[in-house]
């Protein structure tokens, strides 16, 4: 817990969590006092463990004074229960009305589960497939066969990377043209073998660089949009974190699109939008841009861009990745079961109509 990356707006929660930790340690201390372990170093029972134990970085997290700690195990337990309830209430409160900009922060939380995490958690016998057969193998795009529940499928997902080294290799989840081409090549394979496709979207956007441009970033994405629209196999997409513009859409032209409740999906990142329309990106303009862009799961549902909002565990997917994976797996298998009842040849028509209907305009009669 001490290594837990903390979001600014979650500070009160983290304070409570630190206190719970402290009390739990105190409780252990209390229950071990009657029978001190023989191999414990001398004097350890008397050491002022409570405050000294906490990392220095958390000095601003007010801990309970050693003198104020409850004297009995019972009192400690009940205090822990009270604090736990308080934490629950606070989290519920914070996450109920999470501002769009804070949602973006949660979606980018470094501990938030990524495509490879989900694949490990809910996919049996994953068989990764590499390379676009043209230029290279983009680590920012993961593709492979796998079973979700009992359903054999092709899984495609952006991957941001977990360690610093991996993050750099993955360009923080910004795929190159070879990534999009790899995704399409494997999706065509899925179509050939009648396997449904599941895509996990998590990218700030397609990579903006010289090589990416030279190798046709725009063309690679455009071709994916065109080809995905006519694949004769079910496609299910889920925005699991960041749904940044064309780079996200490039693997998200699907029959069913879901969004995790704390993810975002929009034509541009709030910072990008703020830099252009507000002429500068700072805390204030980013907040305003995030508000204006209507990028939350709820907003996208209202606009008809996504079909479902998939609820995250209390306090975000990063607090309980296993629970998140279970929910996600259930949602995916439900969609795939339902899509299996459609004739494969008719899926592109439905998919076309789904995207064809999106847009807001008025039509006046022309004289």
């Amino acid at each position: 817990m001490s290594a837990f990356y903390q979001l600014e707006f979650e500070r009160p929660v983290v304070t409570i969590e630190r206190r719970i930790e402290q009390l739990e340690r105190h409780l252990r201390q209390l229950t071990t006092v009657p029978a001190p372990a023989a191999d414990a170093p001398a004097g350890s029972a008397d050491a002022p463990v409570f405050t000294a134990d906490l990392p220095a970085a958390n000095g601003d997290m007010a801990v309970i004074d050693a003198d104020d700690l409850p004297p009995t195990a019972e009192a400690t337990k009940s205090l822990i229960d009270r604090l736990a309830a308080q934490r629950q209430a606070l989290l519920t409160d914070l996450y109920r009305d999470l501002s769009p900009w804070n949602t973006v922060r949660v979606a980018r939380h470094p501990n938030r589960p990524q495509s490879r995490d989900y694949i490990e958690m809910f996919c049996k016998d994953f068989c990764e497939l590499h390379g676009d057969r043209r230029f290279g193998d983009d680590p920012a795009m993961v593709t492979g066969f796998g079973r979700i529940g009992s359903i054999k499928c092709l899984i495609v997902g952006h991957h941001k990377g977990r360690t610093t080294k991996e993050k750099i290799a993955c360009h923080f989840g910004c795929a190159h043209p070879e990534g999009y081409r790899k995704a399409l090549a494997k999706m065509k394979l899925a179509e050939k073998f009648g396997l449904p496709i599941v895509t996990l979207v998590d990218t700030p956007g397609a990579y903006p660089g010289v090589g990416a441009e030279e190798r046709g970033q725009a063309e690679a994405i455009a071709v994916n949009l065109r080809e995905m629209s006519r694949l004769k196999t079910p496609i299910v997409s889920i925005i699991i974190g960041e749904g940044g513009s064309g780079g996200a859409l490039g693997i998200a032209v699907a029959d069913r699109v879901g969004m995790l409740s704390n993810s975002w999906y929009s034509v541009i990142s709030p910072e990008g939008c703020a830099a252009i329309l507000w002429k500068q990106a700072n805390e204030q303009t980013n907040t305003a841009a995030a508000d204006s862009l209507k990028l939350t799961a709820r907003d996208n549902l209202d606009l008809g861009i996504v079909d479902s909002v998939i609820p995250e565990p209390l306090g975000g997917a990063h607090r309980d990745p296993k629970a998140m994976a279970r929910t996600l797996e259930r949602w995916i298998t439900d969609q795939l079961q339902e899509l299996r009842t459609h004739r494969r040849e008719l899926l592109p028509q439905r998919r076309y109509e789904r995207f064809r209907a999106l847009g807001a305009y008025v039509e006046a009669a022309v004289a």
């Binding site: 903006p208 010289v210 441009e213 455009a222 064309g246 034509v267 847009g359 008025v362």
Partner: protein
């Protein structure tokens, strides 16, 4: 007399690159020559000295490409709305009405049926002068309808792009226009139809990453900026000097990304020639 002369001279808007010119005399942003405006206009808005291609509006483009009197505008009744109640420093509503008043157009696209050197076609032109030709719901819908009409009528469709990309003020709905237009092109393709994509300065972002790069044949005007990300964004990402001529038509041609770089004066006959070869 001096007064008049001085006035004429101040009309030159020199250093700002590629603005649609006003005034009697112009200074070419490329060769810095003084050009008589009428001469430039009669030369298809191309500098007679250095062939710099000025940016032109959609109606001028239509005039240049179609057989006189053959253009029948379609889908003109589509007007944008403000589905997100978007507001930056200015509200989207205000921006739209200001742009509409300025241009006399409802949005950044002009489409219709036409003949090009006697060949029937659907023509769709994005208009840079309206919110940088950005693609919101109206542009996406008109492009899609043009493609659908071409598919149905079995005629070629030509889209002339000039756009800053997807329109931020319609956010996710703008993004969806990329999928919508590309999906329509899949159907045209399946029906054996011809799509000629003409790229003009500048074509970037969500427009490039959807229909603009999906042409069966892709033509570009000389020295047009064409890319997915803008050069400034790339520079900020890599923090290095960009290669010479990066993201310009000639650079893309060399890199295999487009079929031909075509002078504006040749565009009409090039399109007609390609239509002939396709047999559509």
């Amino acid at each position: 007399m001096t007064q008049t002369a001085a006035k004429t001279w101040t009309e030159i808007k020199s250093p700002r690159k590629s603005v649609i010119p006003e005034g009697l005399w112009l200074r070419c942003p490329a060769c810095a020559q003084m050009i008589y405006r009428k001469q430039m206009e009669s030369n298809l808005h191309v500098c007679p000295e250095c062939t710099h291609h000025y940016r032109i509006g959609a109606s001028e483009r239509v005039r240049q490409l179609v057989d006189p009197g053959s253009f029948e505008r379609q889908f003109a009744g589509l007007w944008p709305t403000d589905p997100l109640a978007f507001r930056d420093l200015k509200s989207y509503k205000d921006r739209l009405s200001a742009e509409q008043k300025k241009s006399g157009q409802s949005d950044a696209v002009l489409a219709g049926s036409c003949f090009i050197k006697g060949r029937p076609a659907m023509l769709c032109v994005l208009d840079l002068s309206f919110m940088m030709g950005s693609m919101g719901s109206v542009v996406g819908e008109v492009v899609t309808r043009s493609i659908e009409a071409a598919t149905e009528r079995r005629v070629p469709v030509i889209v002339v792009s000039g756009s800053g990309g997807a329109r931020m003020q319609e956010s996710g709905l703008s993004l969806m226009q990329m999928a919508k237009t590309s999906a329509a092109l899949a159907r045209l393709d399946a029906a054996g139809g011809l799509f000629i994509s003409v790229l003009t300065d500048p074509t970037t972002g969500g427009v490039t990453a959807s229909f603009a790069m999906l042409g069966d044949v892709i033509l570009a005007e000389p020295k047009a900026l064409i890319g997915f990300a803008g050069p400034r964004v790339i520079q900020q990402t890599i923090r290095q000097e960009l290669p010479d001529g990066f993201q310009r038509s000639e650079y893309l041609l060399k890199g295999g990304m487009i079929d031909r770089v075509v002078q504006r004066s040749e565009l009409r006959s090039e399109i007609a020639r390609i239509i002939d070869y396709s047999g559509t």
